[in-house]
């Protein structure tokens, strides 16, 4: 029911809401849970596994029971701010995805600050005040809508709080983020904060953790009945929301804190059941004066009732009640502290794991540091705030603490569980896991809480063990007869659930990843290209004519390249400008073949290996001038090759004078391929004599095109056909491409045709026909490994492993049925291999295509001892059939190389 006065709700602003379709009224300032309690609604959906009645148990992020479906699935009634028209459906453990995309706009902010204070209770506010006054850049984040934390629960220092908030608001360098949860604490004080629609990435010089503490439940028979609630939650509902969850209340506690709840609700409290044989005399005295009976050294053994608690059994006595406020002690909320690599230790004095050693530049204060008296929390907050600011170069005076009465907090006497049926003593309400379940785990030999967690699922539900974790630790300790709790499970982000939509922010759809497009991209789009992604690049894959499927289009493009002329946009190839007097020597040390003596104006195909001798990348290198080379790399490996060059130049050979610049985007490249390539060149670049005698294979020249555009034309071929690569400055790419197409001769082709053409010639694609375990020799490319000079990785070819006869080698495959296409990736076996697992594999298909030139299918494969198998048959067993293929040399077309001169 709603109390007639008090609380921080606005009674002048009624809000209508529904729960399971029934309409209720709450007030501005309510949470959904407090409004439900104000309407007498305590019971929520039954438990997920056993179907037992459950009620609202907590008042914050530690709520195990009160799950609701709103627009978002699985929200907590206790942390949902009430708004007008809210429609909630109670959930048993599981939510439902709506199936609709979240269209809300989410943003990200990256910020730096001097001091980040996490938690806006008394310690956090004190820290922010002390740090903020020095002029330091301070961020104070709190998950609640209103600052104050425990002060709002306990109705204390509210005037001081109001003044402090006003002052913080006015400080120009201090930012207050309410309704914002610090959910992840990563290395070097990188903290992620979740506001409703904004994700904050904060890099803080110092962090003050004032994250408070979570009250623990008590474990006894039928401790899951509706009407059993954490004592601090009861106090919060009454004091902060004027929502009264029960009229006739029993308090069961192991510590001092629940007395505060009892005193605030004095007339409605009949009994305090305290596990301690000698509770502090002052508290007992005060209780008796208020007419509350105190049972010392006693425990609630059982809750009575069916759909709601009707009483409790304490020893031989039965005490009637409609609400039981429980307090099993307090756990400092060390989640973020632990995420930041801070270590905790078990402290007998407070019967909890407390912060021990920090790794990062941080302070941990207040209840999070197991300091439970208000004066102590304020003092720690002020000290840490000022310290943090000073350590970041600011200074100020120690703030004056407000007056608070001296409190002495007496030690608790934890109770882990009671005598009685263990399968009705709940450790984890969300997972319906009981003491009996924990006993099964320890009986099966488990000792570690990590193992018990996985065996019982305790602590794996939506609150990740905020209420159940420590209960389980205590039960385990008692079952094992251990000397107190032995350790916690690992705390991992996020502290509370965070939606994927928030994490994604605006990085969705086309903004998910940067897209790289060549200068000719628009032409490709207008001319119907189908694109494929190569790294971040969009590359034309093939250009279907109306009515054509991919196979038909690719066969047509291939025929054009082999019989007339075809062009491809090759701009995406990585390009590295290499300059310096030692550039030639450097390339000699990096590539398997020699470059130091390459003539200016000439190009050479080169292969790069890692130190282990495995193929890393390949490409054509041009010598532009005595001290200048231009190396191309594969499209996907450009950045890796540049890193690799830099690594060797900087760390191993700093004496070499050589420098690198990525010029990938600076050049647009058009490959003109086919027997009629010269006709195209004669129109586009009429001043260039491109006869075979004058313009030799593997040379290039800098020329002017017909319209005067400067271009570098190279005679290189990745298809075996006569081919020229026209390189122009990126800004001229589109117009030169159009000029080439305007000759009316070429057919545009994409990466698929490029792959077919090169495979027909047995040219490998690094990363497709290789996988980091393949040497040049495995590819049959001994010819490119220089015997005369040293290079990175050369020594590896003398390793016995490089000479194993069963290394996988590159071979060709011709399916016995010329229409059968081997799937790329298909595993290969010998014909006599039985298909009973484990089947010994011979190798796998790396490339496989229909060939227009061969009028059949063909493939490349890596096969163990493959070169010895040439002429033999291998099998590719697929799900529904087996393809037989003959092993061949990995070159299918023009093995004499007669076509490259046209």
């Amino acid at each position: 029911m709603r109390l007639p006065e008090g609380g921080r709700i606005d009674r002048t602003k009624p809000l209508r809401f529904t729960v399971d379709g029934i309409e209720y009224t709450g007030c501005a300032g309510d949470t959904l849970a407090s409004a439900m309690i104000a309407n007498g609604l305590l019971e929520v959906a039954p438990s997920a596994y056993l179907g037992r009645p459950r009620g609202i148990f907590a008042a914050g992020v530690d709520e195990p029971n009160a799950l609701v479906q709103l627009d978002d699935p699985m929200q907590l009634a206790t942390t949902t701010e009430l708004v007008d028209g809210l429609e909630a459906t109670l959930l048993s453990g599981k939510g439902k995805l709506t199936g609709e995309a979240d269209e809300a706009r989410y943003d990200k902010r990256n910020v730096h600050c001097d001091v980040l204070v996490v938690g806006g209770g008394p310690a956090g506010v004190a820290a922010a005040l002390a740090a903020g006054r020095t002029g330091a850049r301070v961020i104070l984040a709190d998950e609640q809508r209103e600052l104050g934390g425990g002060l709002l629960t306990e109705n204390r220092l509210l005037d001081w709080l109001a003044d402090a908030v006003e002052e913080l608001d006015a400080l120009p360098e201090t930012r207050i983020l309410t309704g914002t949860t610090a959910f992840g604490y990563y290395d070097q004080n990188f903290v992620a904060l979740a506001e409703k629609h904004r994700l904050w990435h904060v890099r803080a010089k110092r962090v003050v953790l004032a994250t408070g503490a979570h009250e623990r439940p008590l474990v006894f028979v039928d401790n899951d009945l509706p009407g059993i609630m954490l004592s601090s939650a009861v106090r919060q509902y009454v004091n902060r929301y004027a929502a009264l969850p029960g009229e006739n209340i029993v308090v069961a506690t192991t510590n001092d804190a629940a007395y505060g709840t009892a005193f605030d609700l004095a007339t409605r409290i009949s009994t305090i059941v305290d596990s301690r044989p000698e509770p502090p005399a002052g508290l007992v005295q005060q209780a008796r004066e208020l007419g509350i009976e105190v049972l010392a050294g006693a425990q609630v053994q059982q809750a009575l009732g069916t759909r709601r608690i009707g009483g409790v059994r304490v020893g031989d006595r039965t005490i009637a009640c409609d609400l039981l406020a429980v307090s099993g002690g307090w756990n400092p909320a060390v989640h973020l502290f632990s995420q930041s690599q801070g270590r905790t230790r078990y402290d007998e004095r407070v019967a909890a794991f407390v912060p021990d050693t920090s790794v990062q530049a941080q302070h941990i204060v207040g209840a999070a540091n197991a300091v439970y008296d208000l004066a102590g929390c304020l003092r720690e907050g002020f000290d840490a705030g000022l310290d943090a600011a000073r350590l970041t170069g600011f200074d100020g005076a120690q703030p004056q603490a407000p007056y608070t009465a001296t409190e002495t907090v007496a030690p608790p006497a934890p109770v882990w569980f009671v005598d009685g049926p263990e399968d009705r003593q709940f450790v984890d309400l969300q997972r319906d896991a009981t003491v009996a379940d924990v006993r099964r785990a320890t009986g099966a030999g488990m000792r570690s809480v990590e193992h018990v967690k996985r065996y019982t699922t305790i602590g794996t539900a939506h609150d990740q063990g905020k209420t159940s974790g420590f209960a389980a630790i205590g039960v385990i300790a008692q079952l094992l007869g251990a000397d107190g709790p032995q350790g916690t499970t690992t705390y991992r982000p996020p502290y509370t659930p965070v939606s994927f939509a928030l994490l994604a922010g605006r990085d969705r759809g086309e903004l998910h990843d940067p897209v790289r497009m060549t200068p000719m991209h628009e032409w490709h789009v207008r001319n119907g290209a189908v694109f494929e992604n190569v790294g971040q690049w969009k590359r034309p894959w093939y250009y279907p004519l109306p009515g054509e499927d991919m196979k038909t289009a690719v066969l047509r493009e291939c025929r054009a390249a082999r019989t007339s002329v075809a062009v491809m946009d090759a701009s995406t190839l990585g390009k590295i400008d290499i300059q310096g007097p030692d550039a030639g020597e450097f390339l000699n040390r990096m590539y398997t073949n020699a470059f130091a003596k390459l003539k200016v104006g000439h190009c050479r195909y080169g292969l790069l290996c890692k130190a282990d001798g495995m193929v890393f990348d390949d490409g054509v290198v041009m010598r532009v001038a005595e001290n200048r080379f231009l190396a191309t790399t594969t499209t996907g490996n450009a950045a890796a090759v540049l890193d690799w060059f830099e690594e060797w130049a900087q760390t191993e050979w700093p004496d070499l004078k050589v420098w690198f610049t990525s010029v990938t985007e600076q050049w647009a490249t058009i490959a003109v391929v086919g027997p009629q390539a010269r006709t195209v060149l004669s129109i586009v670049a009429p001043d260039v004599d491109c006869s075979a005698e004058s313009f030799e294979f593997m040379t290039f020249r800098d020329v002017a095109l017909a319209d005067g555009t400067p271009a570098r034309i190279a005679r290189v071929s990745f298809s075996g056909e006569l081919a020229f690569e026209i390189n122009v400055a990126g800004r001229h790419g589109a117009e030169v491409w159009k000029a080439v197409m305007a000759t009316g001769l070429p057919t545009p082709y994409g990466t698929e045709t490029m792959h077919v053409l090169r495979a027909e010639k047995g040219y490998v694609i690094v990363g497709q026909d290789t996988d980091g375990t393949v040497t040049p020799q495995d590819l049959g490319m001994e010819w490119i490994v220089s015997p005369r000079k040293d290079f990175v990785g050369k020594r590896s070819y003398q390793r016995p492993d490089a000479a194993r006869p069963d290394r996988k080698q590159l071979v060709g495959l011709l399916p016995v049925d010329p229409d059968d296409l081997l799937p790329e990736g298909a595993q290969l076996i010998t014909p006599d291999t039985p298909l009973t697992p484990p089947v010994p594999m011979l190798g796998h298909v790396t490339s496989s295509y229909h060939s227009a030139a061969l009028e059949r299918t063909f493939a490349l494969a890596l096969v163990k001892g493959g070169r010895q198998l040439i002429g033999r048959t291998v099998l590719a067993p697929l799900r529904d059939r087996t393809i037989a293929a003959t092993v061949t040399e990995p070159i299918f077309y023009d093995p004499e190389g007669t076509r490259r001169d046209g």
Partner: protein, 80 residues
């Protein structure tokens, strides 16, 4: 997300860097003179301590400088 001190650019987020493994493992002056075992040691064997490890990083999305730092693999604390 580590905060890594680049000697040219100062502290930058980890995403700007490329990891280069253990530092101080020099390329042998004359690889051909090494036994298979020693060459294998150079290629494949690295320290894997729980604690401080000298390692190389490259500021690949920034100035491209390669440099060494010492990072505690247990805590990610970085000591230059």
């Amino acid at each position: 997300m580590l905060l890594i001190p680049c000697p040219w650019c100062g502290d930058r987020d980890e995403t700007e860097f490329h990891y280069g493994g253990q530092a101080g493992v020099s390329y042998p002056a004359r690889p051909a003179d090494l036994s298979d075992e020693d060459w294998g040691e150079y290629l494949f064997v690295r320290d894997n301590p729980k604690g401080p490890l000298a390692e190389r990083w490259s500021h690949s999305a920034g100035c491209r400088r390669w440099f060494s730092i010492t990072r505690n693999t247990a805590t990610n604390e970085i000591v230059r």
